[in-house]
Structure formats: structure tokens, C-alpha cells
Amino acid sequence: MSYARPHAGVHPVTHLWRKITVTDLGFSSATRVENGKLLIDQGELTALLRSDPIIKDVQLAIARPGDSVRIIPVKDVIEPRLSRIPEYPIFPGVLSAWDPDSDGIPSGEIVSLCGMVVTTVGSIVGFQEGLIDMSGPGARYSLFSGIHHLVLDISVIEGTKRHEHEKSVRLAGFKASDYIARSSLDGPLSSGSLETLNNPTDPGFHGSEISGGRKRVPRIAYLYMLQSQGLLHDTYYCGVDVKKMLPRRIVPTEVLFGAIVSGNCVSACDKNTTYHHQNNPIILDLLRRHGKDWDFVGCVITNENVTLGDKQRSSTLAAELIASLNPDGVIVSKEGFGNPDADLMMNCSKIEAHGIKTVLLTDEFAGQDGASQSLVDSHPNADAIVSTGNANEVIVLPPMEKVIGDDRVITELAGGSSKCRLPDGSVAIELQALIGSTNQLGFERISSRFK
């Protein structure tokens, strides 16, 4: 029998984030970090993953920054992390049971293995999944070209249904990351940077009021929109499919622990990989100057469902939750594109109707010539937008010496076409097909403007 923990709101939740950085990857007889290099026991890892009866085979490969390598089609990208809090696991609710509503989030330490990621590939649908180029013109567009990848090329047994296939691949990525973290980060750690992140306290707290007539700092909240449109378009909070969830507050540093994981492989350019969630730069930036340049009053997650009724419901509830935090302004980040533009506009207008100012992060689908309308919906309140680029813009990617995965699908990718292969082996492809290129959490520097 378990008892409800003391409400997280009573004590501020603090997490210490230790980062161990590796600068190379290799295979060896035991999984460990040695002299800044992560060594992986292929046999042990493969056996672990193949314990899922649906998985037929797993091929491991390594990709390094600067390599002439294309990784395709990418499912997810995950950073291995280890929780040093016994009662709070990594990927809570996914790899082990966790209910955020009966257990509060405990404070403590988390360790990241930085400089490398686990990347899952393997064709499920063959379209709208994306690629990562480790060098060449495509590399500019995503942080993933500057990091080491352990690529898991996963194949499943014949006759596996799509949703089973997706689930197995998804879990394989988390299991692999967890295995690497436990094997290499457990035990005493001598090196690594340490950062303390203090979460906002409960909503009733009215910020750092400064006496003496000095203007108080602005109160900022964050509305975190999550893709939830169905198979290959889903996101999970503590293992729960967010389309089944009502908008809710989270403790911002929950994301470090993988409380939000990606179940979506479509919309390569602007879907959030698990890595993006784990390292959400909006949450991190807001936390780092919380109490100094502003008061970060809280973070609300919400979904992007496919019915008008759901959209109206979620946006009304999200706006009310945000309003209850009493912010001066809100950052809103979107995931995906198309009908989520409608959710974005509803969220924006309903929050602004509470007298709260919004800034929206969104990419654009303005056509290859840039002449089409960038978003499918609009609202006069959406007067402060940060653009993460036109995803339809075409770039030419030269052939790479090595392909990890299967690049025959490249003509099927959204953003590719049957005509996209050029005679010299290059492909002319939209940014849409590059993982993370127009990410709407604001990781990248690409933007768009009127010519």
C-alpha cells in the first residue's frame, strides 16, 4: 500500500543535473565509459532488445559528426540518462510504473550521458519519417549532426501489425538508452558538470515581490503543445497517450527524466524527438533565469486532437489553467503542422482573452516557392510569432558514402518525391524530411522572412 506523497506544490522541487560527456563511441566487451569514450557491449544490448518477441533482428551502427553518413528513416532520438532518485525512474510510466497523480515528484540528482544519443531506424510506414545527414549541407539544419549516434536498425517479425511494430521500436529505444545509462553511469562519477534547477513553487506563490517601489519581474508561463493525432503521431506523458489526457500542469524538470516521450515519427522536421523533450530549451531557459530576470510560474502540457470538439475543449481548459498561474505572458510551442495550426490559434486567442500576452513558436508551410500561406489558420491575436522556418523549402543533399538504414524510402518521404533523385545521386528534398530541422521548441536558428 502506498500513501500519497506530500503535495509537490508545498516544497519546491529541485533537480541536480549532472552531465558526463563522451566524445566517441565504440564497441567492446563491457558497456562503460572509459577515457571519454562510451563503449558498448553489442551482444548484451542486442540480447536485451531481442527479448521482445516481436523483434526479429537488431543491427547496431555508429555515426560520428562529420561522417559521410545518412541515417534514414529515423523513428526517435534519445539521450541516455540515469535517475539517482530511487523512487523516481527514468521514462516514468513507460519502463516502470509511475503515476504522477498519486506520487509527487521527488527532488534529487539525474545524470546525462551527453555527446551521444540512441537513434532508432527501420521503416514502419515509409513516409513522413525523416533523415539525419552527419555532414554536408543537410547537417547545418539539425543539432543531431553534431552528436554521436548509436543507431539501432530494428526489424520485426512478419505479419506484425503497425501499432505493435511502432510500440516495439519505441520501447526498444528507451530500453537501450536505459541500459546504456545504467551500465555506464552507475557508481561513483568523478567528472561532469553539475547544474541545479529550481522549479517554480505552487501556483499560489506570487513571485519574488521586491519592495521599495521597484517594478517586479515579469511572470512567464509556458504552454507545451504535444502531437496526438493517432498512430505514428502520438506523444506520451508518464506512459499515458496524451490524446486521452486533459491539459495539466507538470513540474518543468519532469522532462529531464523523460516524462514526455515521443511516439511519433511523422513530420520529421517539426516533431519533437524524445531528445528534444528531454532537453526542452524553453523550459531550461525559463528555469535558468527564474527568480532573476522573470518568474517562471509554470508549465502546462496540452494535446492536439483531431476533432473540433476536442480542440475546443483542450484549448479552453489549457487557457484556464494558464490563467490560474497568473502570468503576464506565455510562450506557446506547437508540434507538427496542418490542423494543429487550429489548436495553436485557439490556444492563443483564448489565453489572450484572459488578458495574458502570448508569443507563438511555429514553423511554416509556405510552399516550395514561399508564395503560399504559411499556416492553415489565423487569428488577429497571433501578433507575436517566432518562425522556425519554411519546411517546404527545397535543399539538395549530396549522396553520402554510407547509409545507415534504408534510403530507398527517400522518394516516399514527405518532402521528397519520385522526381527528387538527381542524375548525380543527389536528392532535391524539402526541409520537411530532415529530422528536427524546423523544430518548434526553438532549438535551431533557421527562420523565415519576407523576401
Binding site: L286, K357, A366, D383, V386, G389, R445, S447, S448
Partner: protein, 356 residues
């Protein structure tokens, strides 16, 4: 790039109107196109400033045409001038500057947009209110100038700066940076700062009431408030308007079957019905058979006459027709505005618009 076999200079053809071509003022706006060898009028300043900018150019010809003549005979003029200009093998064509002269601006835009698809770089210049700007900005590089001739030197300087880049084959990534009007097209670029930092900075400014600039101006889908309902149909004048292209047989106004550039106004006086002998469909975007067999299926005058007797409203004796196939939003708006003016003047109180 110019051929080494020529004297090494860049070849420029300059287009000007009757005034800058030395023919005369407005009274000569109907002068037909002709060519002067070498530079004329502002062309001399153009040549001089190019050379000061270390671009060895020669204005090999100045093409002159009256502003009215151009706009009234545009197709014929272009048919004559485009091959003529090509014959000079220009490396660059410069048109104007047209400042705020509307017909001149339209002519300059027309010349440039006809040459570009043939691989001949062409630039022009005009004032922001010149109708040529909105018409041609998406496809032609138009340098922004002052309102009138007092801004000549500055206009020519900017044209030269832009012209030199075009002569060197440089891509113009952001026209605004080169002193041109924005083309209204989205183009990606790498900002110095990641988007999340920009978002927080923008929010702080917005909260503080400081000015900020959105990175994507939301397009305005305007809605018009519904006009009040008609209380009683008796005595009300109702007009029919159609985008289904129903016109008198033979399409006397030559309304295009697609991308219509005009609309027609036709009489219903004494007509109780339409039929295949008297009317047809000019619309190219749907199977015309049914509309041709019985044009009432798109322009329902037969039943309107029945209801006119039954309900007591008055059928307006004129109807308006255009073809709503690929018609640009701009054109459709323009037609409707003009039609509305006439309808109001004629006392029409309600409209039934039929579309396919």
C-alpha cells in the same frame, strides 16, 4: 556574362517613356515605340554611374514608347519590343525609373516580366504607390524610388547598385536589402540566435509594451458584417451575378475561360429565359455541356421571372458575369468592387450570386 569577342563591355538596353525619351509630355503619350541608338535622358546618368561603380557598360539602345500607347496596345507592343530588345543581346535591361507615373510603371513592369523568362535580367524602379508595384513585385525586382523626378539621382544610384550585382550573376536573396520592394515570398535564413531565445525576448518586449516585430505577419482573413436582411421582397430590385461564365453566344467580350481578366454586363431586358441559341458558358473549369444546353442552370432567369411575378420583387435588367476559374483573388475583388458601384448607382438592393 558578356562575350569576350564584343568590346568587353556589358550591354544594356534602357526602356523609357515619351517624356524621358525626349519626345514630349502627356500630349505625346500616344507615341508609338521606336529606338534610339545609345543612351538618352536618364540613360546618360545611368551609364555614368555604372562606370563609376567599375562596371564597364554601354547602353547600346534606348527603347521609347508612349505611356498610353503601351497600356492600350500592350500585347502588340510586347510582341514587337521583346524580340527587338533581344536582338541587341543585352546583359541587362533597365526600365524607368517610373516614379509615380502609373502607366509608365505598368509598362516597365510589363517589359521586365516579359524578358525575365527568356533569361534576360531586367530591373526597374518606381514609387511605392505606383500600381506597377503591386502588379509586378512578386516576379520583378523593383527598386523603390521617391515620388517624383527630384529623386532621380538616388533612384539611378540604387538601380546601378542592383544592376551591377545582376550583371555579375549574383543572386538577390533579399530584395529589401538591395533597396527593392519586398516580393511577398517567404525565404529561409539562419538567424544569429536560436528560436527559443528569440521567443522569450519577444515576449519580454510584448509584456513590457515595447515595440517588437513578429517574424510572421498573420494574413488577414477579413470578414464582412452581414448586411441586414431584406424585410419585404415586394418592390425590391434584385440582380443576378455569376462566376459561372454565362455570356451571350459568341462571348462578345472574350471573357477568358480561365484566369479571367474581365467581366461582362449583359441585358436581361425582355428575356423570360435563356437558351442554347442565345447564351453559352465561357467557363473552362467544368464540363460545359449542361450549362450550354440550358444556361438557366447557371444563370436562373427563367425561374427568377416566375418568382418575380409571384413574389413581387423587381428583376434588375442587367446581369454580370465572369469566369471564376483560377481567377486571382485580386481580380475577383476588383471586379466585384466595380460591379457593386454600378449596382448601387442603379438602385439594386440585393444580389443572388451563382457559382459553379
Amino acid at each position: 556574362m558578356s562575350d569576350a569577342s564584343r568590346n568587353g563591355k556589358y550591354r544594356i538596353v534602357h526602356y523609357v517613356n515619351q517624356f524621358f525619351g525626349g519626345v514630349g509630355g502627356e500630349e505625346k503619350a500616344d507615341c508609338e515605340p521606336f529606338t534610339i541608338q545609345g543612351p538618352q535622358g536618364p540613360g546618360r546618368l545611368l551609364e555614368k554611374l555604372f562606370r563609376e561603380g567599375n562596371a564597364d557598360v554601354e547602353i547600346v539602345a534606348t527603347v521609347v514608347c508612349g505611356d498610353s500607347y503601351f497600356v492600350e496596345h500592350q500585347e502588340d507592343v510586347l510582341r514587337e519590343l521583346v524580340p527587338l530588345i533581344r536582338g541587341y543581346h543585352p546583359d541587362l535591361v533597365v526600365a524607368g525609373p517610373a516614379f509615380n507615373a502609373g502607366r509608365y510603371g505598368m509598362a516597365c513592369g510589363g517589359i521586365c516580366s516579359s524578358l525575365q523568362p527568356l533569361g534576360i535580367p531586367a530591373i526597374t524602379a518606381m514609387f511605392k504607390e505606383n500600381p506597377g508595384v503591386d502588379h509586378y513585385r512578386k516576379t520583378v525586382l523593383i527598386v523603390e524610388t521617391a515620388n517624383n523626378v527630384s529623386g532621380m539621382e538616388e533612384a539611378v544610384r540604387k538601380m546601378v547598385r542592383l544592376g551591377i550585382k545582376r550583371l555579375r550573376g549574383e543572386e538577390i536573396g533579399f530584395p529589401k536589402a538591395e533597396g527593392c520592394f519586398e516580393q511577398g515570398i517567404r525565404k529561409n535564413y539562419f538567424h544569429a540566435e536560436p528560436a527559443c531565445g528569440r521567443a522569450i525576448a519577444m515576449l519580454l518586449r510584448k509584456i513590457n509594451g515595447d515595440p517588437f516585430e513578429t517574424e510572421y505577419p498573420i494574413p488577414f482573413f477579413d470578414r464582412v458584417d452581414p448586411q441586414p436582411a431584406i424585410a419585404d421582397l415586394k418592390g425590391i430590385t434584385i440582380a443576378l451575378v455569376t462566376s459561372g461564365g454565362i455570356v451571350p453566344t459568341g462571348n462578345p467580350d472574350h471573357i477568358e475561360s480561365s484566369s479571367a481578366s474581365k467581366y461582362g454586363k449583359y441585358s436581361l431586358e425582355g428575356l423570360e429565359t435563356l437558351d442554347a441559341r442565345t447564351h453559352q458558358s465561357a467557363h473552362g473549369g467544368y464540363d460545359n455541356t449542361y450549362a450550354n444546353d440550358d444556361p438557366n442552370r447557371v444563370l436562373p432567369i427563367d425561374e427568377m421571372r416566375v418568382l418575380e411575378k409571384e413574389l413581387g420583387f423587381k428583376q434588375h435588367p442587367w446581369y454580370y458575369a465572369t469566369v471564376g476559374n483560377g481567377t486571382s483573388v485580386d481580380n475577383a475583388q476588383k471586379f466585384a468592387k466595380e460591379i457593386a458601384v454600378e449596382l448601387i448607382r442603379d438602385g439594386v438592393q440585393a444580389v443572388i450570386l451563382t457559382s459553379t
